[in-house]
């Protein structure tokens, strides 16, 4: 495998491993594993269970000095009323989160796909330099560059705009997308491309008609990972987006902390709405999550 170990490798070893363990594990040991698995399950879901139960309590219940672990009554209407809470314009925050994430993801795809294809297929002067820059970018995060980003977007008159955060999110998530798609392109036998080119297909036709369908899992992984990262971005948005309505949910929700009487039930309702879609997306690419982050060094 050229760079990464994508899904097929993992799946194969899973089968091997299941076979390896199945025929020699005693029942008590299996029960022990299940018990340990249950503990892990509970620990990892606990904060989100607290969030969910809190989101259907009333403000009085969630701020009661004698709190109950589970809601005594279920106030589903919180999921409607929370959008008009006075702390921050949550509807605009949700729109802002969606717009920034969607456009940043599209931008990443538009610039990363050709780069991944070309660097996986052809050697050219500057190729190593380019890939090196991509790796270095992966190690940098907006937080450490925020003061520079702030000044630059101020000078460009892009401060406090969605465009600025679309650019920031796209730039800092580019490397994962390039790497994961690069590895998928590199995994296609070059004979497939050659055959098509001999048949007279242009480079673009080869890319769109032949290669793309084969690397589709890599593209989906890149899209999902980028989208989720943009969805949760915090540090740069905190400084670059100053108008309440422009801010994404992650930034807007922090305004609730330290208030005299925080509406925790609303915070949790919004959190649940914000978390469920991206968790589902992440689960779709579970098998391929590691590949693009570790750039093949885990072999």
């Amino acid at each position: 495998m050229a760079v990464l170990a994508p899904a097929p490798g993992l799946r194969k070893t899973d089968a091997r491993r299941a076979h390896y363990t199945e025929d020699q594990v005693s029942l008590p040991r299996m029960l022990l594993r299940m018990a340990a698995g249950l503990v892990v399950l509970v620990v990892f879901l606990l904060p989100y269970a607290i969030m969910f139960f809190g989101s259907v309590k009333t403000k009085a219940q969630i701020r009661s000095v004698d709190p109950t672990y589970f809601p005594t009554e279920w106030h589903w209407e919180n999921y409607v009323t929370m959008w008009s809470t006075p702390e921050t314009p949550l509807v605009q925050n949700l729109i802002s989160t969606i717009v920034i994430s969607v456009f940043a993801t599209l931008l990443v795809l538009a610039v990363a796909l050709p780069a991944a294809y070309y660097t996986a297929r052809f050697r050219f002067p500057g190729r190593m330099v380019f890939l090196f820059l991509v790796i270095v970018t992966q190690m940098l995060q907006p937080a450490v560059l925020t003061s520079g980003l702030f000044r630059q977007f101020l000078a460009l008159d892009l401060i406090d705009t969605w465009a600025a955060m679309i650019l920031v999110n796209a730039a800092f998530n580019l490397s994962f997308a390039v790497w994961i798609m690069h590895s998928f392109f590199a995994g296609i036998p070059k004979e497939v491309d050659e055959a098509a080119q001999i048949d007279g297909a242009s480079r673009l036709t080869v890319l769109f008609r032949i290669s793309l369908p084969l690397v589709w899992p890599g593209i989906v992984t890149a899209i999902v990972f980028t989208f989720v990262a943009c969805w949760n971005e915090f540090a740069a948005s905190l400084v670059i987006l100053s108008t309440a309505g422009n801010q994404p949910l992650a930034v807007a929700l922090t305004k609730f902390v330290g208030q005299y009487e925080t509406s925790w039930h609303y915070v949790f309702g919004v959190s649940i709405v914000a978390i469920i879609p991206v968790v589902v997306l992440f689960m779709l690419i579970e098998k391929r999550l590691v590949g693009g982050l570790t750039t093949g060094s885990v072999k």
């Binding site: 709190p67 450490v144 925020t146 520079g148 540090a235 689960m283 999550l289």
Partner: protein
Amino acid sequence: MRAEPVGAEAGTRPLRPAARPRSRGREFLQALPWIGPALALIVGVVFFPAGVMFYNSTRDISASGVDRGSAGLSNFAEVFAFPYFWPILGRTIVWVVVVVVVTVVLSLALAQLLDKAFPGRRIVRLAVIVPWASSVVMTTMVVYYGLEPYFGIINTFLVDLGLIQDPEGYGWTRNAGTAFAWSIAVAIFVSLPFTSYTILAGLATVPSEVLEAAKMDGAGPVRTYFGVVLPQLRAAIAVAVLINIINVFNSLPILRVMTGSIPGYDADTVMTMIFKYIQNQHRLDVASALSVVAFVIVILIVAAYLRVVKPMREV
């Protein structure tokens, strides 16, 4: 070098017969439409702002953003002269080391479990992903709420367990020390998924023949793990450690939520201090200077990463 195709089997057979030798410049120009947009984005939004940041660290910038000329190295002098700077740096090291070490140790155990076959393993694996996909701000906020005096649910649980006598609690989120300790716990929690999955990928590469051989030689599970499995995980652990160091060092949201409302600088790291300079004090010049210090630390870690792991090796 000609524009040669790069195949999966590392073959470098030219795509077309070498009938038309081309210049390097022309080959680069041919590649430019494909890599140019990505290059522009990286240079324009990562490297250029880094340059702006370095430049600003030597300027005198007013609170309203006016550049009042060169400041030499006085911004750096101010960063280092700040009485809380060295405690903050020390706390940053504690923050990174404790979070990364505990995360890796727990992840080794967790990956071991997730690697074994048992009914329901798929569900458990998916549950482990949840904190990875979720917004760190939101995960931290639920913990912050849970620790609130009287009504916080974690605090209540500790009272019900008898660990705390007074429902007023310890003021977990009111004191710098306890708020910082809980932040470490949250940071470990949100770092576990990535780390476990990386180690899990490493475990999948341990050849089963090696495990069989160890078993044949009469090695027990403990000896097999420490003697055979762990050495094979070296690369996976190296990657997980370095990426975690970068992530934890750069982490802002956890401390921002947990300790942000505590006055003073007793729970700050370099990263939260940078944002205090930017947002609370409007000192973009000093913030840039401290960012440069942080940037140099990150670059040193990246250099170590490239040296140890050599990710370019097989490109």
